[in-house]
Amino acid sequence: MSGPAIVIRSVDKTFNPGTRGEVAALETVDLTVAPGEFVSLIGPSGCGKSTVLRLIADLVAPTAGEIEVFGKSAHQARLDRDYGMAFQSAGLFSWRKVARNIELPLELMGWSKADREARSAEMLAMVRLAEFGKHYPWQLSGGMQQRIAIARALSFKPRLLLMDEPFGALDEMTREHMQSELLSLVSDLGTTVVFVTHSISEATFLSDRVVVLSPRPGRIHEIIDVPLGSGRTDDAREEPAFFACSTEIRESLRAIGAAA
């Protein structure tokens, strides 16, 4: 498995073409993501970050251009369950206990009950909520629910994880904690991640590369490498390279007119 994880080749996306509600969301977007890489998308609201994610996930189809995921079409990759997804709202099913939420994708994939239970126990331990499997989602705090959503997305150990502002609704402290946790989870599993965020520090801390999108229509303005290396700990937040990189992202956002 040496090819790229994701290839986006001159993709355009126009919603409702030819009608009064026409929106040119993305224009000639080119992006290649390597296996195991952590790439963040940042940019002003409405610039098309979620649309990029939804294109990769084959939840919407491009108007022009093509998207490959692990060397196949995005559609085939979805059918092969090559990726997991997490959103800003945890989106847990309130009528299922926590463990059974994690098992939902496994159920749909036809896993046996014993295998499902073993895996959900493993995932619960991984997000350090082992004792909450029998609780209902609403008995958990927002941060705990989000960890369950991540455990659900990773339960079948997909090679790719797509995340749309997953920590957007959390407070700063919980958020930083979850960032470290996510990094160690995905580096253990070798998961490729595409991560949408509004936070410069979050993008810097998590990513190998940060993609800055400009709005109307969304284009890639700049791709910034983050030279913090792998195996980052919270100490990385205090390194000069962290500040330098954050500044670079901020300058880039300022150049496209996003007050940041």
């Binding site: 939804r54 996930a57 939840l59 979805r78 059918l79 092969d80 369950r81 990726y83 997991g84 997804m85 959103f87 709202s89 989106g91 099913f93 309130s94 009528w95 939902l104 994708p105 159920e107 749909l108 994939m109 209902y136 609403w138 008995q139």
Partner: protein, 305 residues
């Protein structure tokens, strides 16, 4: 109805147990108070009405309802009639007779509830699946409820008698005609209630439409379906009684009401007792649906905003 959002409680198990015991006691108390108020109002109206001679004071204009014992028998005569023989020489009391009639009507109503519920759910799923069917069916579903049941009932029973269906099934079909409607309408809203994010999550798992229906749409529809089931439960009793009366089916509460209305002058208490039985049967099925809701929809369940 959809936004009765209960407070979020941390220990749901303990709390709902406490809540239901307290709830039962409170509900029983409320019922007792309501019955007492009705008895006092009834007897008070009679007493005052008779004291002033049955007309508005100072005029010769009659009161809206005459307070005499034929039009408004005493509450205790109604109660007493329950424990007297249903006919002279019979050793069955009216209470037992009405209980049997209620059981007969309950079977018709229950069958009608089941048929109506299944048809309603089926229609909701069809309308969800196909926007074309949705547009085609909605006018018919609405028109169906404007056709008077009284007109329809004899037709259904006549058809039933020409086929292998018995009268019980015919009356059940009449009840189903009323019950499918709220289930179809609320069911469709409930099936459409999951957020785009949850639906996209199911798509991301490449879940087929049927799995999405079972694992997401049906569970999400429960908070919408149960209010419809409660309404349908009471409607099924109404439908069964109206069906019996208009089709002349023997053995149920509808027939008893019709008979006692015909023999009103010789025993008005019996008619009131039969009507009371019908009301209690309605309450009973409503209570059953309510109990099912409490069991199957959690208190902390996320409600649509």
């Amino acid at each position: 109805m959809a936004d009765q959002r209960g407070p979020v409680i941390i220990d749901a198990a303990a709390n709902s147990r406490l809540g239901s015991v307290g709830g039962w006691a409170r509900n029983l108390g409320l019922v007792a108070v309501a019955v007492a108020v009705m008895v006092v109002a009834w007897e008070g109206y009679k007493a005052i009405g008779q004291a002033i001679g049955g007309t508005w004071p100072g005029t010769s204009v009659d009161l809206p309802v005459s307070p005499d014992d034929l039009t408004m028998p005493h509450t205790w005569s109604i109660l007493g009639a329950l424990f007297e023989p249903v006919q002279r020489g019979s050793d069955e009391t009216l209470a037992v007779f009405l209980l049997k009639a209620a059981a007969f009507t309950f079977v018709e109503a229950g069958l009608g509830f089941l048929i109506g519920g299944l048809v309603g759910l089926g229609l909701a799923v069809l309308m969800l699946r196909s926007p074309l069917l949705d547009r085609a069916l909605v006018p018919w579903i609405n028109i169906s409820q404007t056709v008077p049941l009284i007109a329809l009932a004899p037709i259904i029973v006549t058809w039933g008698r020409t086929t292998f269906l018995g009268d019980t099934v015919s009356v059940a079909l009449i009840a189903a005609y009323l019950t499918f409607f709220p289930v179809a309408v609320n069911g469709l809203v409930g099936l459409k209630s999951p957020s785009t994010e949850k639906l996209e999550l199911m798509r991301s798992y490449a879940a087929p439409w049927s799995k999405t229906l079972i694992a997401l749409r049906f569970p999400a529809a429960r908070p919408y379906l149960f209010p419809a089931f409660k309404l349908a439960a009471t409607l099924s009793v109404v439908g069964a009684i109206v069906g019996e009366i208009s089709a002349g089916v023997r053995g149920g509460l509808g027939r008893a009401i019709l008979d006692y209305a015909g023999r009103y002058t010789t025993g008005p208490e019996k008619l009131y007792a039969a009507v009371l039985g019908a009301a209690l049967l309605g309450l009973f099925v409503f209570g059953m649906a309510n109990l099912a809701e409490q069991r199957l929809v959690n208190e902390g369940e996320e409600q649509p905003r």
